[in-house]
Symmetry: C5
Subunit: 276 residues, 5 copies
């Protein structure tokens, strides 16, 4: 049957986490790099729709295209991995080192892919600097500034806000990666994972990988943002917030309610195999 | 075959009700908590769409995302359970105590999840109180007031209205949980359950779990609503209205027309097993 | 395979007609009652969309939600049965009495369900009479008057118009019930049956069961329509027009072109079984 | 597997062409008649959407509903048959006489069905002549005149234009019938065939069967179009243009690139069977 | 199961590349010709939508119709082949000569098909020159000029821009061809390939085959563009940019991360077969 039961979904989460913890740096960089670029594509697509219609929700309805490509092509997305590897770790299938190894190199891959796409996109949209400011370049600048010095201007409240928005974001993104496992058919996967991604983007929550494109792109176009602004007021708190919700509210929550019996059975099988 | 016949749907309802009646408090709290938060997410997504387009139906078209996540991830929703457990009870598979046990702890879970999401959302949307009033905060306040002191202002007619709107709401929501069982494929489940949820939200009927987010969120933002207003003029009559329609108009109605023969057969098998 | 060949569709029509002719009054009332209420829900949803967008086609795009619920939950809809039972009768599987028995009790069920929903909806929308006239109540009144005394004002031309519009309506609705049989998957059924229902509602043709909600609801809200107006200028000619097209243009037409060989084979098998 | 390989699609085209060439006049008339009426329905639905939104593409997005019903219910459409029977003929499975027999009687069926629908629709929309001119009746008149005397006013350039527009139309419609064969599931068939039909209608190309409804309907409503105008400046050149593209650019093109090996194999099997 | 794992997708890419390298000139011309025409159709459909709504994203949402037809009917598209044949070549299944043979003749086919469609479309839209300038003809002229002399006016920056836009385009188009392989069902294929095509067209990136229609069509309508302008400032740099991204960023990237083990196994099987 096409539809996958929740207990089996958690089993798949654990299996996926285990596989991901064992990927070599080369694979993590290629897969993370492609994923970073694809979210950049999705972001500029969504912004184009917003500028044309004046309705941000239109962009949000289109944005999941990039996420779907990442999942269907078996790439690596750290915000999803923030839920999958902990689930495998809770089940004893993955070491902390393996988990951190994955996260670190995938983030490096995302940075490379996102900034590579930002370079290409900025070159194209400014026609190598010969074009004047466009609606798109002004939007990217404004978003980059809002997401960094905008929070800085609020001090501790800004830091709290960006952290909460990162938590709100990745509860959904992590579930996007998980909901793709509720179906064995491509159309089922696409539909299921579209939903939580739409929820987060439609409400402007903070996603670490999207920001790896949008803030550097804004900076290239002239945003008044330093690298320190980018990391201190956005990238670091967003990565932490994304991790908290993926780990606790998605990965662990589902593991503790749907994973127990299944994993007990699996552990038994595991032991059986070792014994043979 | 992917499509499930009505008699088998009723059988699945009974089976689901039985399973749900036997879940421990831990599972009911986790699953109910996640479900409460997801409906909160869906509500703020829908409100965002409404504010951007000025057309409430746009929000209603998006709102079922949260319900779909609840069902596909095997969580607990009391408004669906108001139909499923009675069906199992009519079939003699569930005791009244088991049914009330499920409902009570799922409601507690919903309250925890909904209020947790409301806290995060309010913190983010007000930027920890540093931002002035936004369209979203004003909308949440207005909705919270309309749904409580708005009814109170009408006295008995208000109480009657909220009760009828709760009946109208949950006839559909309960059918959403049931229609998800008409298909064995994820895309079929999503499409089938989307419909009744769209119907209720598009017409502004009263759903107990949505209100567990929207009224507290409005209160946190400054709505002139007391806890007594919330429970007396909304939460209690809405829970009762939701229960009435789910029980009588969805669960029992389908049980009595599609469940009979099937359950006779099942009872026979049941007895056979006991006899062995 | 998921897709069902036309000859097999006709065979399923006959089988469905046979089953429906043998349902007890209890089942016909419950299933017809639910179906009547669901079309009421779909109608108020569509009207809400129309009022919000000013584009009636938006409502028509949403309206099939009610029809889909009826079919997937195995309920009874007399306008579909106007095609299915005649097909079974042409095949000699159903008596005229069995056919009329089904139609009569399903219509009674529809009336109960539609008027029950109308009562609830009117109570909610007028807040038990305490609210002033709303856009929705004015629309329901206007539609109820147009569909009755509007035709009466034209005399014979009005009667002819309502009858032709009923024919045009139910050629499509009957095909909706039939097209649901072209697929074995839920998503295929939903997509296939959505189309003809959208066609009829989008063009404002006359459907007997929709009118069982919309005219009484308008009357409850103050439309200048008597019960005689309702039945003489709408309900009776619409039922007749619905019957004509479902019977001749949908049921019989498909039976005579796709049913022949299949039914010959079936009749042979039937005889074979009797002989054994 | 649900998806059908191109070589198998061509094999199915040949098989369909063969079956169609052997249908009796009765079947061709019933199936062609229903198909003609359904395209009439789809046309008035699309025109309604256009009038309500002012955006013709909205109508084009809805228009394929009629085509889908024709294909899923196994009816006959001459514009699709213009590709399917030639493919079977190229393969030696169908005689020229069989091909012309199908086309002739299906066209007669289309005329009967289209004009029957036009009569009903005109009666309903004018309320048996008692209603004044409506936006719909004025649109139908204008379209009927543009599609006939509009071309006549341009002389040879008009004849050339209508012929080219018929070629452009039916390259797509013929592929609609063929793309329905790329899937074994109903939803796959619907999605695949929707696309080329949308392409043609969205650009206002000339389709023989649509015109069999829209021009007579316009004439009934008062368009200044004679039967000679209809046939000489539209129906005949459109049928020819539709035939040219379906035959050469759809049927033959696919046959010569995907049909060869397959048909060799089939011919061999054919001979084998004869030899037995 | 319907969904295809990434390693198997890469295996399919290699297999497809191998098959394509062995097609005769006849097949490459027919399949490339049809594909060229279909993208022309899709382009004029999208432009029609843009002109009617004033929102270019509407056209982009519809544009993938042409791409889907190409893939489902097993035709040849050079921009997809820029990824598929290199993957097969990296795996040692295809010679450089075979790869260039495919690309060259498919491009010739595209030119024939695109210009053929342009001739038909221009004849129809100008009514053989008797109609005055239309919104469509003015748009085609403007686009043709922007895409050629527009870049020329910027000199080196223009050349750089068109090259980068071609890279950005075909990263997505190549993935469109690849994502169609992530599913075995038609609906899954359609949904998966729709996404990257929407991404590229929605942002106005440069696609070689679309330009083979749009620039000649603009020229026929009076754009101030010479054949040298067309090729030097657009067609050649776009083909090169399309090749770079399809080869390196789609084909090779996926090959190196998902292809390794699989291809080792396959090579072993290959050797085994040779040894037999």
């Amino acid at each position: 049957m096409d539809s996958v039961q929740p207990a089996k979904v958690v089993e798949n989460m654990i299996q996926a986490g285990k596989t991901k913890a064992n990927l070599s740096i080369k694979h993590l960089l290629i897969r993370g790099g492609l994923a970073g670029a694809f979210l950049g594509y999705a972001t500029t697509l969504a912004f184009t729709a917003n500028l044309q219609t004046g309705i941000d929700m239109m962009g949000a309805i289109l944005f999941p295209v990039g996420f779907v490509m990442i999942i269907l092509l078996g790439l690596e997305l750290v915000t999803g991995n923030f839920a999958l590897l902990p689930a495998a770790k809770l089940n004893g299938q993955v070491s902390t080192a393996g988990m951190l190894h994955n996260w670190f190199w995938v983030i490096i891959g995302h940075l490379i892919g996102s900034i590579f796409y930002a370079l290409l996109f900025v070159a194209a949209t400014t026609q190598f600097g010969t074009a004047g400011p466009s609606a798109m370049s002004e939007l990217l600048i404004a978003v980059a500034e809002t997401k960094t010095i905008g929070y800085a201007a609020l001090g501790g409240a800004g830091l709290g806000t960006v952290f909460i928005k990162a938590i709100l974001c990745n509860w959904m993104v992590a579930l996007g990666a998980i909901m793709a496992m509720t179906s064995k058919s491509t159309i089922g996967k696409i539909a299921a994972m579209w939903l939580p991604i739409l929820i987060f983007f439609g409400q402007g929550f903070e996603h670490a990988v999207v920001n790896m494109f949008v803030i550097p792109a804004g900076m290239m176009l002239g945003a008044e943002v330093t690298i320190a602004d980018w990391w201190l007021w956005n990238q670091i708190p967003v990565l932490l917030g994304n991790l908290v919700s993926a780990f606790l509210l998605a990965g662990a929550a589902l593991y503790f309610t749907h994973g127990k019996k299944e994993t007990g059975k699996e552990a038994a099988l595991q032991n059986l195999k070792k014994a043979q």
